[in-house]
């Protein structure tokens, strides 16, 4: 602990916080870990069965994933207190037809204070 204080004081005095942010010659910039793991399950509200091939996207919809055969999805996205999630049935009639849904998730600060912030969503879709 004592060493850590010395480290911070000298580092800040000579350079400010950049003393602790570095990149190796042929490496990348450091990742500050500002992400959130969003996991979940999409199922039919009518039957309770998981739905495969549902598109789950965030923000401007550029980042997306599809549910697997168990209706599960998982992806990392930028850390924000409020994240808009879009759930869309894009495979037409393959798994019958469902009404698209979007939802705003609000993340508590306490979740962001963990080493690996994550949320789990249970999503039910209404059949068309």
């Amino acid at each position: 602990m004592k060493k850590d204080w010395k480290r911070k004081i000298v580092g800040w005095l000579c350079l400010s916080s950049i003393a602790f942010v570095f990149q190796a010659c042929y490496g990348t910039p450091q990742d500050f870990g500002n992400d959130l793991l969003i996991e979940g399950l999409v199922k039919s509200k009518k039957t309770g069965f998981p739905i495969k091939g549902i598109k789950v996207s965030v923000g401007d919809k550029m980042q997306y994933t599809l549910t697997d055969e168990n209706g599960q999805f998982s992806f990392y996205t930028a850390r924000m207190n409020n994240t808009q999630i879009y759930i869309e049935d894009i495979d037409s009639t393959e798994n019958s037809l469902f009404i698209n849904k979007d939802t705003l998730i609000t993340i508590k600060d306490s979740i962001f204070n963990t080493k690996l912030p994550k949320v789990y969503l249970n999503i039910e879709l209404e059949p068309k």
């Binding site: 480290r7 490496g27 450091q30 980042q63 992806f75």
Partner: protein, 351 residues
């Protein structure tokens, strides 16, 4: 703050960091296969590598020896070209699942929209792409006519995502030297926030090609270019951490020169060797994950990296800058330890 005082404090800081040697940055050379055949490649990578890609579970076994990794610990996946691995997303997810962060160094050739999304989904947090000039000079160095077009697209994707801490690196050589200003404009126009410039190390394929290496006069002009560009504040431009640059210290980078190889930076190389930056002479390896506990090696070995007094030899023996330079970048030393391969300070001093 007075420069001398700043340098003295920085020396203390480096001493303390060396003593603590906290592992913050771990390179994983996951493949030595490459889809390009760059003229300057320090690894002599090729399409047909003599090594098979390291299986993910072998790497994870070594990674799992790290107990209590530091908060900012990052695995930097490098190669070869890491995007040639079909399981790259799985590799990233397994690292992130352990609460560790991961990033990627790529030539950008295979970085299309689909790959961009799948890597983000897997928790990619930082990315470095190589751009070595405008169309002709980039394609020349990369030995591929489509290379610029591909990396241009990759850069566009990378800048579109605020989640990624992203930068572009450029290996400065005699072909692209006079177009650096144009490259700077191009990057600003693309929305790139950070740009790092290197010179080329005389190892691998590069060592026999004179066109790769800047004269002392050009090297000094490069320092002036970086210094002047930093004052404009249009892009976060910096010289890489490859060497000590005397009067340009604290002017061409955010901080002074500090080679952190073996101090904060470790690596697991393609054959399981445990070392520091991948461009360091492989005879300096400290162990091998196939017979040693990785973290135990990190904590107990690396003596040559943490006590650089052995570098006070050859042209470094009587150098007045030694206390700030300490033998330049570790990758400029061969196993014979007789003399440093390149002295950046000398390039500036006599110009």
């Amino acid at each position: 703050m007075n420069k001398l005082l700043k340098q003295a404090l920085f020396r203390e800081f480096k001493k303390n960091e060396t003593k603590l040697h906290e592992l913050n940055y771990l390179f994983w050379e996951c493949t030595t296969r490459c889809n390009l055949n760059c003229r300057h490649c320090g690894s002599d990578c090729s399409k047909d590598s003599q090594y098979k890609d390291m299986p993910l579970d072998h790497f994870l076994k070594a990674l799992d020896t790290i107990n209590n990794s530091s908060d900012n610990f990052t695995v930097v996946i490098t190669g070869g070209e890491p995007l040639l691995r079909k399981d790259i997303e799985l590799c990233g997810r397994e690292i992130r699942k352990r609460g560790m962060r991961w990033s990627l160094v790529s030539n950008g050739y295979l970085y299309d929209e689909q790959k961009h999304i799948s890597l983000l989904n897997a928790g990619l947090g930082a990315l470095t792409l190589s751009l070595d000039g405008l169309t002709d000079s980039h394609n020349w160095l990369r030995n591929n006519d489509n290379s610029f077009k591909r990396v241009d697209k990759a850069i566009g994707l990378a800048v579109s995502t605020s989640r990624l801490n992203f930068d572009v690196v450029t290996c400065v050589n005699n072909r692209n030297f006079y177009e650096l200003e144009e490259v700077r404009k191009y990057l600003i126009q693309k929305g790139v926030k950070a740009w790092r410039l290197f010179t080329i190390v005389p190892i691998g394929r590069a060592k026999v090609d004179a066109e790769m290496f800047l004269t002392d006069s050009r090297f000094k002009k490069l320092m002036d270019f970086i210094n002047e560009s930093r004052k404009r504040n249009e892009i976060d431009i910096k010289f890489s951490c490859e060497g000590y640059v005397g009067k340009y210290e604290f002017k061409v980078r955010d901080s002074g020169f500090f080679c952190r190889a073996g101090i904060n930076i470790g690596s697991i190389l393609i054959d399981g060797s445990i070392s520091a930056c991948p461009n360091i002479d492989r005879t300096f390896a400290q162990g091998n994950i196939y017979k040693d506990n990785f973290f135990n090696i990190w904590q107990t070995k690396y003596i040559l990296f943490r006590d650089r007094s052995w570098t006070k030899t050859g042209q470094c023996a009587d150098c007045k800058q030694y206390k700030d330079c300490q033998g330049n970048g570790f990758h400029y030393w061969h196993s014979q330890k007789k003399n440093v391969l390149v002295c950046h300070h000398q390039k500036i001093k006599y110009e």
